[in-house]
Amino acid sequence: MADRLSQLQDAIDQMATQLFSALRYIGTHHDAVPVGGEAKVTDETAVVDDKATFDAAKFELARDLIFKSKQIEILITSLPGIGVSEDEQQERLRNLEQEYKEAEAKRKEAVRQREEAAEKLDQVIRSLRRC
């Protein structure tokens, strides 16, 4: 999974694409309405959807846009480390490094003890097998 910043940027890009495609859909699928007594204008390039489909599509496009916008907002609020300054982070990193070193020393000690114990046990088992 990408990190949240990249997710957010992707969402924004998708939003831009949606903005474009929504307008484009309306531009290419709308029906024309005659004004006054003039004949109804026809556009060769347009694929005219009937009114119900067109309205449903418009509704869906609008809803998707709002969804995307909400999604972006959620991503914004979940950005990591909001309200932590760089110095605080550095401080935290230094503390973590210190803790890490201590924990690592303890771990090595524990591993050594375990190996010693295993060695003892091994000796006992070996000597049992020999007799």
């Binding site: 990190d3 949240r4 910043l5 957010l8 940027q9 924004i12 939003m15 831009a16 903005l19 307008l23 309306i26 846009l65 709002i66 916008s69 972006i72 907002e73 914004i76 609020t77 950005l79 990591p80 480390g81 909001i82 309200g83 932590v84 300054s85 760089e86 982070q89 550095q90 935290r92 990193l93 973590l96 490094e97 803790e99 890490y100 924990a103 690592e104 303890k106 771990r107 524990a110 591993v111 003890q113 375990r114 114990a117 295993a118 003892k120 046990l121 000796q123 006992v124 000597s127 049992l128 007799c131």
Partner: protein, 247 residues
């Protein structure tokens, strides 16, 4: 430095620099001849011309190029104004120029939310404009464009911050892992010791049984203490089994 043929730096697979043919054993030996006793080289303009290219140039100080892209040292993310785009959020402070941004002085979440709201609003206005006067779309699309650039810019500025944050999280995870491992090792030690203690117990019981039967033969007194104990426990064990079988 020898001039590069044009386009050499931007090619996906750039040709080797012209001067690579100068790195002959003969030239390298000649260069080593010229070294001063302390290993440093004389200033570059005192070297013969064919040897000058053998000396690495000093590291760049302000700017350098990599794969045809100019970079600055220290790395500065160019501000929106430098890229010719209107900045829609307040600048953090004048301190942002030295590459170390002041994150606390600017509430990115708030600004990003504002921008995402005005993105929708501007789009609504664009749709309205398209319905009334389609030829005037440019004003609104450029507003949308500016907003999008601003959002991306804000997010990108946030990246170093996230990198540090991620590092913190990784280190915490690592710490947790190490502590768990320590704990498990200690548990293993306790278990092994329990087993050994159990074996010693068995040995003692066996000793008691043999003591009663009086069949115990001890002959290996000279061994080192641990081995001796082990041997003892073992022979006692064996003797105990024998006496049990015999009984």
């Amino acid at each position: 430095m020898a001039e590069q043929p044009p386009g050499a730096l931007t090619a996906a697979f750039p040709p080797p620099p012209k001067y690579f043919t100068s790195f002959t054993p003969k030239n390298l030996d000649a260069l080593n001849e010229l070294r001063k006793p302390d290993g440093t080289l004389p200033p570059i303009d005192e070297l013969p011309e064919e040897l000058q290219v053998l000396v690495p140039p000093p590291p760049p100080e302000k700017r350098y190029r990599a794969f045809g892209e100019p970079w600055t040292l220290p790395e500065i993310y160019p501000s929106l104004e430098e890229a010719g785009i209107q900045q829609l959020y307040p600048s953090p402070s004048s301190g942002s120029q030295n590459g170390k941004e002041k994150e606390s002085s600017l509430d990115r979440t708030l600004e990003l939310r504002r921008l995402s709201k005005s993105l929708l609003l501007n789009y609504l206005e664009l749709v309205g404009v398209m319905g009334v006067a389609p030829e005037k779309f440019h004003e609104k699309t450029s507003a949308l464009e500016t907003i999008l650039f601003n959002m991306h810019h804000l997010i990108n500025e946030y990246r170093p911050h996230q990198a540090r944050e991620t590092l913190c999280l990784r280190m915490e995870e690592q710490l947790e892992k190490i502590r768990k491992e320590t704990e498990e090792n200690k548990k293993a030690v306790v278990q092994i010791e329990a087993v050994l203690a159990g074996l010693a117990d068995v040995g003692k019981k066996a000793d008691a049984i043999i003591g009663a039967g009086g069949v115990f033969i001890s002959e290996r007194r000279s061994k080192s203490s641990l081995e001796e104990k082990v041997e003892k426990a073992k022979s006692m064990d064996a003797a105990a089994w024998r006496s049990l079988n015999g009984a």
